[in-house]
Amino acid sequence: MTAIDTTRPGSDAANKDGPSRLTAHGVHAWFGNHHVLADVNLDMTPLEVTALIGPSGCGKSTFLRLLNRMHELVPSATLAGHIELDEVDIYRGDLSATEVRRRIGMVFQKPNPFPAMSIAQNVLAGAKLGGIKLADRDATVERALTRAGLWNEVKNRLSMNGGALSGGQQQRLCIARALAIQPEVLLMDEPCSALDPTSTRRVEETIGEICSEVTVVIVTHNMQQAFRVSQQCAFFLATEGEPGHIVESGPTEKMFSEPDDQRTLDYVNGRFG
């Protein structure tokens, strides 16, 4: 069990040196015999937001789920290659799946707060699930909700049911829930696809604020969003009958203005996909 002192930001035992580096070397993924992802190499650097873009079915969500071992929950799912969190292989090292998921948090496409729990209980759910002792529960709740940009809206109704919030608020509650256990990396799978423009803007602001403390990897279908929130970008593509792969990756500025590959230019300018 890890004791987290929540009074000082970023001070938990596992997160001493700030955000962590997540790297993928030669990663493949299969569902049964279906090869969905081939030879993906990507460096997800600390203090930056990495956006994964590409048309539907190109394997970017599969890649994201490989990064915190959610992929293996699908029956018949297999993989190859190495994914390292600060140079420790998350599949072959001493890390358990639950430990990997605690250190690499995830926010899903559809907001999924626990409907039977209050707002505060939702935020504390990760600590309870992981058996983590919290020094100050109220402070953890306040800090996580503040970082997710939800504190001012819910501070007077923390005992209210989490399921009763609006869609955008639910998604920010899920972000707060993920941040409360102080992960080193936060994976976001199209976090705004179910949200209205105002909520989307709030979530994007949140991403901008948290990336100083946690490495963010975001999958998005929205080119403008990728351009607004990310510093690094990877373009995934799957041609008919072939597994998905990375066409090109690099600084977002370059990817959107003068990419090396014509297909990247066509995609970011909305000419296909």
């Binding site: 915190n68 959610m70 929950l73 029956p75 639950t98 430990e99 998921r101 605690r102 250190r103 948090g105 995830m106 899903f108 559809k110 999924n112 707060p113 626990f114 409907p115 039977a116 729990m117 209050s118 209980q121 759910a125 990760g126 309870k128 699930l129 992981g130 049911n161 399921g163 899920c174 829930r177 993920a178 256990i181």
Partner: protein, 332 residues
């Protein structure tokens, strides 16, 4: 003159009348046939229930002419020919053995349902589900025979041990060494009979717990048990309660297996290890053959009481099961 901008302007000229039509949906011939037959079948089911109720009420009239309804509800004796009979002890014993069965069945039903829906290897899941449903269809006479010849002689040792070691617990007290046919034995057989029913209902509800919430709990670093506690059990609470209530309904009405195991008493005792138990349905089955007309009418009256209680239990059970999301008081 320009058209008025505001509809509620009192000086405005009334708007021109609009053509209002009522849209009539014409059903096709096939739709009409299906609609009618579905309604007929539904009505028939309800009508049957009302008829059964009416029949029981009518048949028990004869007895209620010689004894009042309130005396019938409290009288512990069963001598209907002398107008001295009631469900006072019968109802107590029926509920006692049924609750014993439900209490013993609960942990096993819950564990079985959780195992099949959450822990069993995926390829075994389908066959285990089938097996569970098959078990619910084993005829009760089989349970009765098995309970009488196999279970009772063996469970006697457990009863003796319990009464010796835990005699300070009032319900385990046995003073005269009579252990056969006890409420404990009857309750155990009932428990075995209702485990598959309760487990089947629970498994069905557990399997509907939303995958996005399951993944949410796992993505927070939860173990499988943590996920079950925070997502599956809160989601399935209605199913757990409803499944146990349905099982209670079955236990209350179970006849054959109980008839084979009871040795009839008309007292109210909470000594569950001691010989002697009784239920309304078992008494009807045992007494029906030799009963005089007035005694038959009394048995019908007892049947009426059982009918109403079972109906209530089942209605409450289906109400709880059909309510999807339950409460906000759940803790992980």
């Amino acid at each position: 003159m320009t058209a008025p901008l505001l509809a509620n302007d009192p000086t405005a000229t009334p708007p021109a009348p609009v053509d209002r039509i009522t849209v009539v949906v014409r059903r096709s011939f096939g739709d009409r046939v299906f609609h009618l037959s579905a309604r007929a079948a539904g009505t028939l089911t309800l009508a049957l229930m009302v008829l059964v109720f009416y029949f029981l009420l009518n048949a028990s009239k004869t007895f209620f002419k010689v004894e009042s309804f309130s005396k019938f509800m409290t009288d512990q004796a069963w001598v209907p020919d002398e107008a001295n009979a009631g469900v006072g002890s019968l109802l107590f014993n029926t509920i006692l053995v049924s609750f014993l069965g439900v209490i013993m069945a609960f942990p096993f039903a819950l564990a079985a349902a959780l195992y099949v829906s959450e822990y069993a290897p995926r390829r075994l899941r389908r066959s285990l589900t089938l097996l569970l449903d098959l078990l619910a269809a084993v005829p009760s006479i089989v349970f009765g025979i098995w309970g009488f010849f196999f279970l009772m002689p063996r469970q006697r040792h457990l009863s003796i041990w319990l009464s010796h070691e835990l005699s300070f617990v009032p319900i385990f007290k046995v003073t005269d060494g009579q252990y056969a046919d006890s409420p404990f034995i009857v309750g155990t057989v009932l428990a075995l009979m209702i485990i598959p029913i309760a487990a089947s209902v629970m498994r069905e509800v557990f399997s509907q717990a939303p995958p996005v919430e399951r993944e949410g709990a796992l993505a927070l670093g939860g173990t499988r048990w943590g996920m079950i506690r925070s997502v599956v059990l809160p989601f399935g609470r209605g199913g757990i309660i409803g499944g146990m209530m349905l099982a209670l309904g079955r236990a209350l009405g179970e006849t054959i297996a109980v008839t084979m195991l009871v040795s009839v008493v008309f007292t109210r005792s909470t000594h569950i290890l001691h010989q002697g138990s009784n239920t309304i349905s078992a008494l009807i089955a045992l007494d029906w053959g030799e009963a005089s007309p007035i005694a038959r009418s009394a048995l019908m009256a007892a049947g009426l009481v059982l009918f109403v209680i079972t109906l209530l239990v089942n209605v409450v059970a289906s109400m709880i099961t059909s309510r999807t999301r339950s409460g906000s008081l759940t803790e992980i």
